[in-house]
């Protein structure tokens, strides 16, 4: 009798269960039915993708300056190329574009600083982003001080305007939404009923109606000679609308926190704001990240509605460009470009939120 003193070495997995071939067999061709479906799927992909790729890349025209440079067999990216500056900056004066670039760049740096975990002074940077940056951005973009010429808001447009609307909407809607959510759960009757009425009113009307009211009716109610800038009107409308949605998302998070948490905090002698700020909200907000980001993404896409009040956001400026008689007939290219830009921003938001969820994961997920 022999006694095996050493552990028998593990043998490699059988050849037919590893490697790409095995993967294909296990996942795509594991039986006659699956094989048929796989082949059918590939065929459909081929049928759909070939013309798309041919249109978008192979037959496409990339260089040129006018519509004559386009063969019209494939996509005419010349159009997007010629209009790119306009799609990004709107009708902002060409000589002043550096101002927008500085604002874009400093915003990107601030956001990157906040997003990368290793960098120090997070609190100060956050404070600067929320308080100093908007003032800085206003002076840079609008001008009128420090020798900068005034660029009225009706010249703002394109991606720049979309980002302004979205960022202002997000930054303003979150705190207002938190306050409304807390107010709706409050015991104080006046606060509570104000919050309920506010939320239900703004959530009950479509955003397009609010924008219409702001642009068509509001000027008639204001005293003679007084007018509120259209962009400001749109920003206020979007903020009020989104904060109502945000409030309900956050209230969902608040309700998921066991009452014991708040009671324990109260037992420690914490006041209302400490209980909320240190115990309840951090847990609730963390849990509601998917919901909050979902609202942000829908807000980002909703900004295209400002088109109906004559502001040229990214989609609006693309449509305006489509009606230039020198570039008629390139609607598809314009819309594909706009869709691609929107997708980039929405997808990045979504990825960042997933990263944030993982980072803040403390075992609360089941």
């Amino acid at each position: 009798m022999t006694i095996q003193l050493k552990m028998i070495e593990a043998r490699p997995a059988p050849k037919n269960t590893v490697g790409p071939l095995a993967w294909l067999r296990a996942n795509l061709f594991s039986g006659p039915v699956n094989t048929v479906f796989t082949l059918l799927g590939f065929y459909l992909l081929f049928v759909l993708l070939t013309p798309t790729i041919q249109w978008a890349f192979i037959n496409a025209d990339w260089v040129g300056t006018s519509r004559d440079d386009c063969s019209r067999e494939g996509a005419c990216w010349v159009f997007v190329n010629a209009r790119l500056t306009q799609f990004i900056y709107g009708l902002y004066p060409r000589t002043e574009l550096w101002r927008v670039n500085i604002v874009f760049a400093s915003f990107a740096v601030l956001i990157a600083w906040l997003a990368i975990p290793r960098l120090p002074f997070k609190r100060w940077v956050a404070l600067a982003t929320l308080l100093a940056f908007p003032v800085f951005a206003y002076f840079m973009l609008y001008g009128g001080h420090f020798g900068l010429s005034v660029v009225p808001t009706h010249r703002w447009g394109g991606l720049m305007l979309t980002l302004i609307l979205a960022v202002v909407g997000m930054v303003a809607a979150l705190p207002i939404g938190i306050l409304l959510a807390l107010g709706r759960r409050s015991q104080m009757p006046i606060v509570k009923s104000f919050c309920v009425v506010f939320i239900e009113f703004w959530r009950g009307v479509p955003l397009i109606t609010i924008l219409f009211m702001a642009s068509v009716m509001l000027p008639l109610f204001l005293p003679t000679g007084m007018s509120v800038d259209r962009l400001v009107r749109a920003l206020i409308g979007i903020t009020l609308f989104q904060s109502a949605y945000m409030a309900e998302v956050i209230r969902g998070g608040l309700q998921a926190i066991p009452k014991g948490q708040e009671e324990a905090a109260a037992a420690l002698g914490m006041g209302y704001w400490k209980r909320m700020g240190l115990i309840v909200l951090p847990q609730a907000l963390k849990m509601m990240i998917p919901g909050i980001v979902n609202t942000f993404i829908s807000l980002f896409k909703d900004t295209t509605l400002v088109m109906i009040i004559g502001l040229f956001d990214l989609l609006g400026i693309v449509q305006a460009a489509l009606s230039d008689s020198r570039w008629l007939g390139f609607a598809l290219e314009g819309y594909v470009f706009a869709a691609f830009m929107f997708w980039i921003f929405c997808f990045s938001m979504s990825r960042y939120s997933q990263y944030l969820e993982r980072k803040l994961h403390t075992g609360h997920k089941r």
């Binding site: 000027p219 005293p223 007018s227 449509q319």
Partner: protein
């Protein structure tokens, strides 16, 4: 096409009426404009040939040229304009509330608009109307031969109604093929769903360019409805009304007298009394409007005469290539006519 939001229009105009005179902005538009340093001009948010931003971001178009003419008359600088893009619904409110000084946004002059909205139409810069585009191969040369045709039309527009009226009045039948957007309408026409595409003549030209073979289609000469488009101002400021009205007339008169952007400087020395009066060499005809004697000279030297503006934006020098047709001067068989300067 322009009236598809009639209900909204009525709603907003009713609201405007309810608010009455409170909405009327300051009476002296000229002074307000001078203080501001620019004419606020309401334009369309994109209509080929009439107003659209070009590659450089500068507004171009026939409607835009009216704004530039007014700015040239007032400031001597055609670039002193702030363009406010307006959609069909908010355009009248923007004018009533004083957000814009002039509305130059392919707006049809109708009784309702002229008499109930507190507005004045300052003239007509484009006589539009519903027309037909057909495939050359059909061999049809007049709209009266279209009996039994399948007609592509955009839904919810007055075009649909007008075409139905026209066919009924002429004892003909047609088969309407309705689409939602202009792109779909063109697509339907190109795919052969219909024999005829109908829309405003100004739109037809823009739709025609989008076809894969524009030369295969022709626009029939008949225009079956009246759509006079022109600049609009607020009621109650006759001085400003006159400025806009005569800015347009100056462009028309200049074309009639043969004054162009290029020859305006030599024309200044002309002995022709009409030309001398228009260009401010004989008396000051801007005085009554609160302008200086060079008002018309500034318009012509910076914007050009009406014909130049037409050719550049919608006519033969533009991709749209719309014939002058009834928009030709009265001396050339059209109906564009301006009162004399004297």
């Amino acid at each position: 096409m322009r009236d598809n939001k009639n209900k909204w229009l009525l709603l907003t105009s009713a609201a405007a009426l309810a608010l009455g005179a409170t909405a009327t902005a300051s009476a002296n538009t000229l002074q307000t404009t001078i203080d501001r340093g620019a004419v606020q001009c309401g334009v369309s948010d994109g209509l080929p040939g009439f107003s659209a931003p070009d590659d450089q971001g500068d507004w171009q178009g026939l409607d835009v040229d009216v704004c530039r003419a007014v700015a040239a008359a007032v400031f001597g600088d055609a670039e002193a304009v702030r363009y406010i893009s307006l959609n069909a619904v908010e355009r009248f409110t923007a004018l009533q509330s004083g957000e814009v000084d002039v509305l130059s946004r392919n707006t049809t002059w109708t009784t309702t608009r002229d008499t109930t909205l507190g507005l004045n139409f300052a003239g007509v810069n484009f006589y539009d109307g519903i027309g037909f585009m057909i495939n050359r191969d059909l061999g049809v040369s007049s709209a009266t031969d279209l009996d039994g045709a399948a007609v592509c039309v955009q839904s919810g527009t007055t075009t649909e109604l007008n075409v139905a009226d026209y066919f009924r009045a002429n004892g003909m039948t047609f088969d309407p093929i309705v689409f939602d957007t202009s792109e779909q309408t063109v697509g339907g026409y190109e795919a052969g769903r219909c024999d005829v595409l109908t829309s405003d003549t100004s739109q037809l030209a823009a739709l025609r360019i989008q076809l894969s073979d524009p030369d295969q289609s022709v626009i029939l000469p008949e225009v079956i409805s009246k759509e006079p488009l022109g600049p609009v101002v607020r009621q109650g400021d006759d001085q400003w009304f006159n400025i806009v009205k005569w800015s347009l007339f100056a462009m028309l008169n200049a074309e009639e007298m043969g004054i162009t952007q290029d020859n305006v400087d030599e024309m200044r020395n002309s002995d022709d009394p009409d030309i001398a009066r228009l260009l401010g060499q004989d008396g000051n005809y801007g005085e009554g409007m609160g302008l200086d004697a060079n008002w018309a000279y500034n318009i012509i030297s910076q914007v050009g005469n009406y014909g130049e503006s037409y050719d550049r934006n919608v006519g033969m020098d533009s991709p749209l290539q719309i014939e002058r047709g009834i928009n030709a001067l009265w001396t050339e068989g059209g109906i564009q006519y301006a009162p004399p300067i004297r």
